[in-house]
Amino acid sequence: MGANPQLNAQGELQHLLTIEGLPRSLLIHILDTAEGFVAVNQQEVRKVPLLRGKAIFNLFFEPSTRTRTTFEIAAKRLSADVINLNISASSQSKGETLLDTVDNLAAMQADMFVVRHAQSGAAHMIARHVAPHIHVVNAGDGRHAHPTQGLLDMFTIRKYKGEFHNLRVAIVGDVLHSRVARSQIHALTTLGVPEVRVIAPKTLLPGDMRQMGVQVYHDLAAGLHDVDVVIILRLQNERMRGARLPSSQEYFKYYGLTAEKLAHAKADAIVMHPGPMNRGVEIDSAVADGKQSVILPQVTFGIAVRMAVMSILAGNQG
């Protein structure tokens, strides 16, 4: 195995664990392949026979409706057999370890695991453990990464903006707890976006932002000035209970995206959100439903991007 545990000896994608360290050409290959699947999703029969006979297990150790559903639809449109497991509710409560669970499912002849886990590094651990013919997709691990979300965001940006090399992109909100933000930043910088900004209060920013090559703003209006893309992050309710924020009303006042704040961005700027949204906390309803919002297209593109990732992985030998 090479330096990057995601790549096989030929440098092909064996697992998708994080966008960090993946070459630009590979990201572009995934986005281009996803374009083909957008066309499939417009066919009368929205299905292709690519993964016929493959068994894909959705291992969700943390609840998620949207991500699990889009992975399930993507796998079904590739003709795979999909098995959904919400593990928090089953074997973990009986004391089985994560790797025992994985071994049991591998013995049922799994071909791919799609893993969501509250612990950073869980998908990496599974990828190191499984036999070479099994592929692992990280569907979100702790605060670490959510690579398919990052990729579908890049796909959305390319759809609306065409290119990456001339863009100014702002990510607004709880970057500290956000695996989505980390994946987005790695993807944006790898794809050559010259200016990535993060806008958040100091208490919601990690210390390594400047090392990641981004500009830090604490004022929303200043940070949005002249940007092409605004990505709003979800403010997780549980963060409110800690001492990091006074209240959701206070947060909305300073960091909630309203039409008035959005006016600082370019007139044709697009507004994105990974979902699920807290209306009236990080985003105003008028903006979420407004003409610059591409939040629902993001969901649609997410299926094509996940189809691309799963089919590229399944075609590569370990």
Binding site: T33, G36, A39, V45, V48, G315
Partner: protein, 168 residues
Amino acid sequence: MNNLSLPDADTLIRQLADRMLPDITDNSVLVGMHTGGVWAAEKLHPLLNPDMPHGSLDISFYRDDFEKIGLHTQVKPTRLPFEVEGRDILLVDDVLFTGRSVRAAMNALFDYGRPQRIRLAVLIDRTGDRQLPIAADYAGLALKVPGTQHIHLIRQEDGQLMLKRVDL
């Protein structure tokens, strides 16, 4: 082997168009298979009927060698800007070899609807190499090619098409 033994692509396309022309109706549509078939179909289109609907088909997701080679070629979006249901489809490819690409193309087309009919037009029909019960309805040229060679359609920078033999 050299290229002298292969005819000029434009001549072949004109001959192919002449053979197809009597069968064109109001219900006909032209579908090129990526990538060589799309180029050939673009040249055929004005010769057949410039008003005929035309599209392009990518068969990457329907290939039968995915298990062996994976998804490495660049996938190009399929564009069929018409109803497939009930149409008389003229499917165009550059070279008919084993027949596997055509099998994949027919499966792909049926996922868009039930055509009335599909007919196959190719520039080069490699005789004796079929692995499936598939035959061309129109061929520019039938040719016996050694198993050690491939025939490729190439598009030059000025848009000119050229047939080329490649030793494996």
